[in-house]
């Protein structure tokens, strides 16, 4: 197929699509994994059932964004895919094991014969969610510093590991505020309150550590005119954190007002953090080693994929919205029919 975009624009378009998929994955499966991490914070089996029911119809489609993100990396930047995934061999395997356990636990706990059996699958649900979150955090930390193996880089990766798990638990709690009510919702508000401060601390720590670790990233943020143009990003993040803190302190509000706002606020925080990281990386697809343009596949193949992506992605988004409408509102007990 003849390229209909200038060949040097194609890698950028694909990087954009990939970033979009990964961002959607992190928000969407982030709240799934977060609910999984919080699952054992309550002992009441009925509350656990409702927590799982709140994410039941969504997790499968949510997880598919990871496949699309990695798929785009694989097909658009084949060389980078190999470099990144061989460098992250063990954490990728740990993440996959975690996602497998979490995914099958949904089904097996629903079909468990005894309460004891169900508790066992709940434990695996929690372990799977936590393992996947920690592994993703470790991968992010290693990736940000270009797979550097110095002790400082490893410490940074450890920080990212904990940070991502806490951020997921936070957005999971915000999801539960929206999708549940009563005692469970009150608990979720408490989880979100303590989670927010940990998330804020994590964002500050990563924002300080990243420019210090790399001169290139330092220059991208603090040289004129970037330092002025980019100022809204940290300012908006700070304002959002303070606003969320104020709101969470007042919740629950009469008639359950604003119950979805913490979730959308958390989504905003994820987007702002993601934008900051994306700005730091550009134009690298493997930090400090491979740029988008070095790693891209042949323009003819990219054009062919782009045609499919431009037709299908709006459709996917359309029926994602449809599924959200069908399964909107407070979580009910989930039955097959």
């Amino acid at each position: 197929m003849t390229p209909f975009l200038p060949p040097d624009l194609l890698p950028l378009v694909f990087a954009g699509l990939m970033a979009f998929s990964v961002l959607l994955y992190v928000v969407l499966d982030g709240f799934d994994l977060g609910v999984g991490i919080l699952l054992r914070a309550t002992r009441d089996p009925a509350e656990r059932d409702r927590m799982v029911a709140s994410i039941g119809p969504f997790w499968d489609a949510n997880e598919t964004w990871l496949v699309l993100g990695v798929g785009l990396l694989l097909v658009a930047f084949p060389v980078a895919h190999g470099v990144i995934l061989t460098a992250l061999y063990l954490p990728v395997a740990a993440m996959l094991a975690g996602l497998i356990l979490r995914g099958v636990a949904f089904e097996f706990r629903a079909k468990a014969a005894t309460a004891e059996d169900k508790r066992r699958w709940d434990r695996l649900f929690f372990v799977g969610s936590l393992t996947a979150s920690l592994a993703q955090g470790w991968m992010l930390g290693r990736y940000v510093l270009g797979f550097d193996t110095s002790p400082a880089a490893m410490a940074f990766a450890a920080l990212a590991t904990v940070g991502v798990a806490i951020a997921y638990a936070f957005i999971g709690a915000c999801w539960l505020i929206w999708r549940t009510d009563g005692a469970l919702q009150s608990r979720a508000i408490g989880w979100a309150r303590s989670g927010l401060w940990a998330v804020a601390a994590g964002i500050v720590a990563v924002s300080i550590a990243t420019p210090l670790a790399s001169e290139r990233i330092f220059a991208r943020w603090f040289e004129f005119p970037y330092v002025v143009l980019l100022a809204p990003l940290p300012l908006a993040t700070g304002a959002l954190i303070l606003g969320l803190a104020a709101l969470l302190r007042q919740m629950p509000l009469p008639r359950d007002a604003l119950h979805s706002v913490p979730f959308w606020g958390a989504t905003g925080l994820f987007c702002l953090s993601f934008a900051g990281l994306a700005w730091s990386f550009y134009p690298y697809v493997v930090p400090e080693r491979l740029t988008l343009y070095d790693a891209a596949a042949a323009p003819e193949s990219l054009t062919l994929i782009l045609v499919g992506a431009l037709i299908v992605m709006p459709v996917i988004l359309g029926y994602t919205v449809l599924a959200w409408l069908v399964f909107g509102g407070k979580a009910k007990d989930l039955h097959y029919h």
Partner: protein, 444 residues
């Protein structure tokens, strides 16, 4: 063991575990649509009861298929980076279309199909069931296009060792694709036919006389009676296609060392690759020549024409016999059952007892068939273009051994849980069918 062998075993373990679930969901999606349409048309509860039970099996299989499928998409990068570096321009778009057109279609509509029956209008639920069936089938289509291209590549040129597409039509409709796709879709149908027939027979033998079980039993048997003989014909055509494009694989399947006429059909033998001969042969004279050339004197290529470039003989040889043996048993049980049903006799106990051990026969036959074709492609990863040794990644063998152990333990546990849960669901369903309080469903 070195990284190459360990990575190959790991890939085989991952894909063998993965395929068990799509091979159920591809055909089960269509069977569920059939149940739903029959219910819509007749309003008879047995159809919706059958739907309600088998949709649970679908949900469980689908979940296992999704999570093990994610592992697959990472495997290319973690263990086989050379694959995407060399043929990524071709494999990439095919994999992308698989994810784009199919994966999402299933992943979103499956939620409506599984949980939405009481939340959406009946027509939308039926439509979701249809779209899930279409999605699983499209998924299989793209994956088999890529797999077939790896066996019979065309429509590309090599520039500096990297494949560039020149003709997408030729890539998608490569010579082995129609045969492989048909063979695989029918394999899925047979797997589901015997899963339904076997589990329903087991429930019947345990005293469940419900109409839903009788209905699935009959559906399974009729499906088997139609598909099993068809598979024999399609499999034969696929074999002839392989003979044309990958003669070394067919030579290994037949255990034939010398190129010659009047090649016997080996029912049993122990191929010895060091001595390059078979021991303990039991054979039908000229049988292989008749099957492959439709002529007793037909010349069939032998392994000695491909020394150093043919696949390991024993695994291909044995796996082929296992697959064909199970296929013949399926034909016998399918046609026999259809005959018993046609005579309007109640199915006798001996026949039901024969179906029970065949419940998972589709799994074994499917795996055996895949081992024939995939091990049969060795030493190539993409036939004539890229070897597996060239594509393997620089990961230390110890790391691969560690992850392989982890996967094997995980898969053994999950497979046990899956089978136990299927039977537990069946027992529970039979218990509910016996209790008088079963609610009567109304057609919408």
């Amino acid at each position: 063991m070195d990284t190459l062998l360990l990575s190959r075993i790991q890939f085989a373990a991952n894909i063998s575990f993965h395929i068990l679930f799509p091979v159920i969901t591809i055909a089960l999606g269509w069977v569920l649509l059939y149940f739903k349409l029959r219910f819509n048309a007749s309003g008879e509860t047995r159809w919706i009861d059958a739907y309600r039970f088998w949709v649970k099996v679908f949900a469980l299989s689908f979940a296992l298929g999704v999570v093990s499928g994610i592992t697959m998409s990472f495997q290319f990068g973690t263990n086989w980076p050379g694959f995407m570096e060399r043929v990524g321009n071709i494999a990439g778009p095919l994999l992308a279309y698989e994810v784009l057109t199919a994966f999402f279609l299933e992943a979103t509509f499956v939620a409506i199909m599984l949980f939405g029956m009481s939340r959406v209008p009946n027509w939308l639920h039926t439509l979701a069931t249809l779209l899930v069936a279409v999605g699983t089938t499209m998924s299989a289509f793209w994956i088999l296009v890529l797999n077939s291209w790896m066996h019979t590549p065309q429509g590309f040129e090599l520039r500096d060792g990297v494949a560039h597409a020149t003709d997408w039509w030729a890539i998608i409709f490569n010579p082995s694709m129609p045969y492989r796709l048909a063979h695989m879709l029918i394999a899925s149908g047979l797997t589901v036919a015997f899963l339904m027939a076997g589990m329903s027979a087991w429930r019947r033998l345990r005293g469940d006389r419900s109409a839903a079980v009788a209905t699935t039993l009959r559906t399974g048997i009729v499906l088997a009676a139609v598909l099993a003989p068809t598979q024999l014909v399609v499999g034969d055509l696929h074999g002839l296609n392989t003979l044309e494009h990958q003669p070394a694989k067919v030579a290994a399947m037949e255990g034939n060392w010398e190129t010659r006429g009047n090649v016997p059909l080996l029912l049993f033998a122990i191929p010895d690759e060091t001595a390059r001969e078979n021991r303990f042969e039991i054979a039908i004279p000229s049988g292989a020549s008749v099957i492959l050339k439709h002529d007793p004197a037909g010349v069939v290529p032998g392994l000695n024409d491909f020394v150093g470039e043919h696949p390991p003989v024993a695994p291909v040889f044995y796996a082929f016999r296992l697959m064909v043996g199970l296929g013949l048993a399926m034909i016998a049980l399918g046609l026999g059952g259809a005959w018993l049903l046609w005579r309007r006799r109640d199915l006798p106990g001996w026949y039901l007892r024969a179906l029970v051990p065949m419940t998972f026969a589709g799994w074994i036959a499917t795996l055996a068939g895949w081992y024939v074709t995939e091990i049969g492609r060795q030493p190539w990863l993409v036939h004539g273009v890229l070897t597996t040794a060239e594509a393997v990644g620089p990961v230390p063998a110890g790391n691969v051994a560690l992850t392989l152990t982890m996967y094997l333990l995980l898969y053994a546990g999950l497979l046990t849980a899956y089978v136990v849960t299927l039977y537990r669901l069946a027992r529970k369903d039979s218990g509910e069918a016996r209790s008088p309080s079963t609610a009567v469903a109304q057609p919408a």
